[in-house]
């Protein structure tokens, strides 16, 4: 074993993640949340392909049909199968939210971590930039991204369909969320970096950080190996909270007409259109909203459980 490896092992401790998993299993709600999330993912991404219905097949004259053997959840305002629309919408919404969360967390941690750790004037300038960007109207950036990116995404889509023979509708469905995703991420990281920055600034004065510094470890190592793991708690809570809020962002954009391209669905679009039928056909709202809310609750409880599991100090009680 080289010296480097020993140092790495020492830093890691016994097995943070194994302990965390053991603690997570004791938390009932978190485990229910975990299973629900897994179930939703399996249904949307695996089970969906065993269903023969086409979610975009319009059947005028058969609108608002009640649940039947052919349409398990009935049909929507244009006679399309509700179940497959919800599942396909789930694919889009979950992809947007998770990809955007990954992006925002990585950017936020790096930016906020550096800002908080370095401190002083650099910190001041970096945080003012964040403050400034937070004041930027979200919409204008979305529209700008749509105009700038759409053409390029279309080119890639064309390449995939013509050169690699991918299904056109399939490519279209996923490629048109890219501008949306980037636009959401472009704003999502701001709050994340503020939170990380506050935590880092507090933690870098902590005893363990002092200890690491006296050991002569590099700043890079102190920041990413010692300070960042210590604030996984708030970061994970916030990240699990951003998943639902990003699904909502997408929906809010649909509220303004900048969401997923028709005729494809997303949970946001389904709920928003369903809300119009609140008085006349409430099942249009209930089905997507229930799936949506259950998923969000599950994510939230899972996030809570993860926080408790990953934060050894809190778990000692």
């Amino acid at each position: 074993m080289s010296g480097n490896e020993i140092e790495e092992r020492l830093e890691k401790g016994t097995s943070l993640w194994k302990d965390a998993w053991l603690r997570l299993r004791k938390n009932k709600m978190a485990m229910i949340g975990l299973w629900v999330v897994i179930f939703i993912f399996l249904t949307c991404f695996v089970f969906r392909w065993f269903l023969p219905q086409d979610p975009n097949a319009v059947a005028l004259g058969n609108e608002f049909a009640p649940p039947s053997a052919q349409h398990w959840l009935g049909t929507d305002q244009l006679g399309r199968d509700m179940l497959t629309r919800i599942l396909d919408g789930g694919q889009i919404s979950l992809l947007v939210a998770i990809a955007a969360t990954c992006l925002t967390v990585s950017i936020g941690i790096i930016y906020g971590g550096i800002s908080g750790y370095v401190g002083g004037r650099v910190d001041g300038v970096m945080m003012r930039i964040v403050d400034g960007l937070l004041a930027m109207p979200f919409l204008i950036v979305v529209i700008l991204f749509r105009e700038l990116i759409e053409v390029r995404v279309d080119l890639i889509g064309k390449f995939l369909t013509s050169e690699w023979g991918w299904d056109k509708d399939f490519v279209r469905r996923f490629s048109n969320i890219i501008p949306l995703l980037l636009a959401i991420a472009a704003f999502g990281w701001l709050t994340m970096s503020r939170i990380v920055r506050t935590q880092t600034a507090a933690l870098k004065r902590g005893e363990f950080a002092e200890a690491a510094r006296s050991l002569g470890l590099s700043h890079f190592r102190i920041l990413f190996r010692h300070i960042l793991p210590n604030m996984l708690g708030p970061v994970i809570i916030y990240a699990t909270l951003t998943i639902p809020s990003f699904i909502l962002y997408e929906a809010t954009l649909s509220f303004i007409g900048l969401g997923v391209e028709p005729p494809n669905s997303s949970w946001g679009v389904l709920i928003k259109e369903g809300a119009n039928y609140l008085e006349s056909n409430v099942s249009m709202l209930i089905f997507p909203a229930v799936v949506f809310s259950i998923t969000l609750f599950a994510f939230n409880f899972l996030g809570d459980g993860l926080r408790d599991a990953l934060d050894p100090k809190a778990a000692k009680d």
Binding site: A135, M136, R205, G233, L248, A251, N300, D311
Partner: protein, 306 residues
């Protein structure tokens, strides 16, 4: 402290300047035309409109004269989407409304959020914990454009002194503030709960407990203050977001606030209203964040050295 505030002020001013300039450029880059409506504009009239708004000059000139008007006269220019209305007029009529609504929403968020977060943390992993968290989460698990209509249908229609929408009677603030506040309450509750759990496991709290300090004194005196750190950090941007990001709530409850303008200024390509809004909002944000940082320093002595 004065030096700190002064340097913060200068930094914020610089960032806001860049931001507003960026807005000026992008609003002209995105497609659309502020004067497009159902009836086509005849070609020879386009120049007349441009003249009336000073758009016939070069962009640089327009930009400079806009800034000099703002800085010397406080004049933000004319709205291109609402004929004959100045941006100042629009801002001054909408801001008090948004501020009232925002304060109401934040009040509701804190009143619901902090107590439920504290209760949840004290009964960690018990049913009260789960129950209060589920309740707090309703606001972020049900979108505002569902919650709003549900309130209108279930509450407003059955309660005579609550209107479905509008901004006429003093009670009209309740439902929109609740819709807006619930979404924030969930975040506040969770951040409070997280912070409390963190703090309650610290040694000094244990010491206090061992010394026999009564439970509620520990919570109110020793635990709550540091536990609210993440909440305070979150409140600054959240407050600003509540003021401008309330487009959905403002549309559903028909409230004449800033949020609507933020969206319609973009969708109707209002060349002068949007920069005006961004400038106004940027300054607001800067102030909100400055206050947050001052409060943070008071709450957490460790940060003072930083």
């Amino acid at each position: 402290m004065l030096r700190f505030i002064l340097s913060r002020f200068l930094q914020t001013a610089l960032v806001v300047f860049c931001l507003v300039s960026f807005t000026h450029v992008t609003i002209r880059m995105i497609p659309g035309n502020p004067f497009a409506d159902e009836k086509a504009m005849q070609p020879h009239l386009r120049e007349r409109v441009a003249e009336a708004f000073g758009l016939n000059e070069s962009f640089g000139n327009q930009f400079v004269s806009w800034w000099s008007n703002v800085l010397t006269k406080g004049d933000f220019g004319l709205s291109t989407s609402l004929f004959g209305r100045s941006v100042n007029e629009i801002l001054t009529s909408a801001f008090p409304v948004s501020l009232t609504l925002g304060l109401g929403a934040m009040f509701i968020a804190l009143v619901i959020g902090i107590p439920s977060g504290v209760i949840a943390s004290l009964r960690h992993n018990g049913w009260i914990d789960y129950g209060s968290m589920i309740l707090a989460m309703v606001g972020i698990c049900i979108p505002a454009f569902v919650l709003g209509p549900l309130f209108q249908l279930w509450i407003a229609r059955n309660v005579s002194w609550l209107s479905s929408a509008g901004w006429e009677r003093p009670t009209d603030i309740l439902l929109p503030a609740l819709t807006l506040g619930l979404a924030v309450a969930a975040y506040v509750a969770r951040l409070t709960r997280g912070g409390m759990l963190e703090v309650l496991s610290q040694d000094y709290i244990r010491t206090a407990r061992a010394k026999g300090v009564p439970g509620h004194t520990i919570i109110l005196r020793h635990a709550l203050r540091p536990a609210l750190l993440p909440v305070v950090t979150y409140l600054g941007p959240a407050f600003a977001a509540v003021i401008t990001g309330s487009f959905v709530v403002e549309t559903i409850f028909q409230i004449p606030g800033l949020g609507q303008h933020f969206v319609t200024a973009v969708t109707s390509k209002d060349y002068f209203l949007l920069p005006g809004l961004v400038l106004f909002y940027g300054c607001l944000m800067g102030i909100a964040n400055l206050i947050v940082d001052i409060v943070l320093t008071i709450l957490n002595p460790r940060l003072r050295e930083a």
